[in-house]
Amino acid sequence: MANHESTYRPTSSIGRWMDARLPVARIMHAQFVDFPTPRNINYLWTTGGLLTFFLGVQIATGVVLAMHYAPTAADAFNTVEHIRRDVNYGWLMRNLHAVGASMFFLAVYIHIARGLYYGSYKAPREVLWIIGVVILLLMMATAFMGYSLPWGQMSFWAVTVITNLFSSIDSIIPGLGTRIVQWLWGGFSVSGTTLTRFFSLHYLLPFVIAGAVGLHIWALHVAGQNNPTGLEIKTTSDSVPMSPYAVMKDIFALSVFGLLFAWFVFFLPDYLGHPDNYIEANPLSTPPHIVPEWYFLPYYAILRAIPNKLLGVIAMFSSILLLVFIPWLDTSRVRSAKYRPVYKWFFWLFIISVVALGYLGSKPPEGAYVIWARVFTAYYFLHFLVIMPIVGVTENPAPLPRSISESVLGKGAAPARAAAPLGR
């Protein structure tokens, strides 16, 4: 894909002058206009564009909110209300930003599930996949720090609980965990000092994400896109130019997803939040039931499923870090689960487990909830560490189509054009 030639021809004299000096337009044309896209990609392949859009929304609305917000313990809670009530269109900016975070995570989870189902992490896309895991971690850090900024009860206690995860290091090296936590807090407890530094980092990290997204797209354009068959593009008839085909498909999907986004922004802006966050932070009173935002619930369930503090923290972090190793844990020679009759069922079992963990994470940690959280946590890890390596070897995959074209056009239609080499 990287060696495909740009058909860019500057038409104006200014265009030719620029092309000889800084060929940005030529590169953009090669990568985003006539870049070869598999002709069979479905709507799940529009999530990448969707995610780029939401990163843009978060940065644009975030810059606006920062103009009216004060990151101090005394003012934070009040300035958020000031934004919602007094600032012109402040209500819209705040709702877009708060709901946008949820939509961002919804889209990224669909994007990851797509990659898992169609084996998009397999060679030669391992680095692409790992950069994706890094982006996920950066998103989580950004969202977590962003959630602290309204300085309500849930903000305060979420920061307390999550930063205290690091104190579990005390059970390996006594004192070190406490030192780290006090370093993060800038004091002996969560305070306005903590809030101010989280604001600084919350403003910084989205630009780090943007940089990582740049690398993610670069790696994608070196390896080329995966597709529902998991086959590589072999001939020109296997692909269509990115513009207009994939771009218009992205814009249509964005419009549909935008309806969901707008529904929450205009009609249910607080539905995804928690009412306790409209009580100002109080260091002397813990809310009866602390829950994170919905997109962190599965990890929270894993944390609470394990009765030992240190092991719970390790399990929670490894549930995400494990994703890095998937390219090597999956032993199957077939990429797409579409042609993997056995693995397909385990994939859906995995999805059910994650959704169930999300539900259990929102429930109090007692009785049957804890037992079920343990069952699904066990499956989460077994899926990657046992099922993936074993099923990849034992399973008998269904026959693959000979090419992407054949999967779309049926047998007989493809060979007529199959002789033309790529990029001519």
């Binding site: 999550i162 205290n164 006090q182 813990t286 030992n308």
Partner: protein, 197 residues
Amino acid sequence: MQREADLASHSAEEPTRRDFIVIAAQAFAGVGAALALWPFIHQMNPDASTQALASTEVDLSPIKEGQAITVVWRGKPVFIRNRTPEEIKKAVDVKLSDLSDGSARNDDLPERAPATDANRTKKGHENWIILVGICTHLGCIPKGQGLSDARGDFGGWFCPCHGSHYDTAGRIRKGPAPRNLEVPPYAFTSDTKIKIG
């Protein structure tokens, strides 16, 4: 052949002045970069104004038997409970082998001091239990200070976040918390006054 021999002998030659200046410059830049990093890390540690937060004095006389109050010390809540005789007896009667954390966790005592009720209180003031009111699991404030609060299975404190139960001496008995509630450094300045910190 002669040229190859020259090249081979060249690589085994004594280090030149240029090799020295390359290594010296790299080492200088590396150490300098590492040293410059430290102020950027250390600025996040608790600052002088936070460190200077001194001690807190508390008058215990208004707290009746069975009542409890919460005071703030170094930004942290401190639980002070005037225990009833039954509560003291419950705490004293516990066998050390029943405790999941055997250390007294008393800042005035060494780490290896056993978690007996005597080691968690002050001699002659055994009715007073004074604890940092922060769950040792993930830092929530346990319930149990208010008279109508849930006090868990052992009559002390109960952390609603992840279900840790503490007994009437603030020792962890059930749930994910790894340690007993911390006993802060404090001293009785008179029969009814304490100074924490």
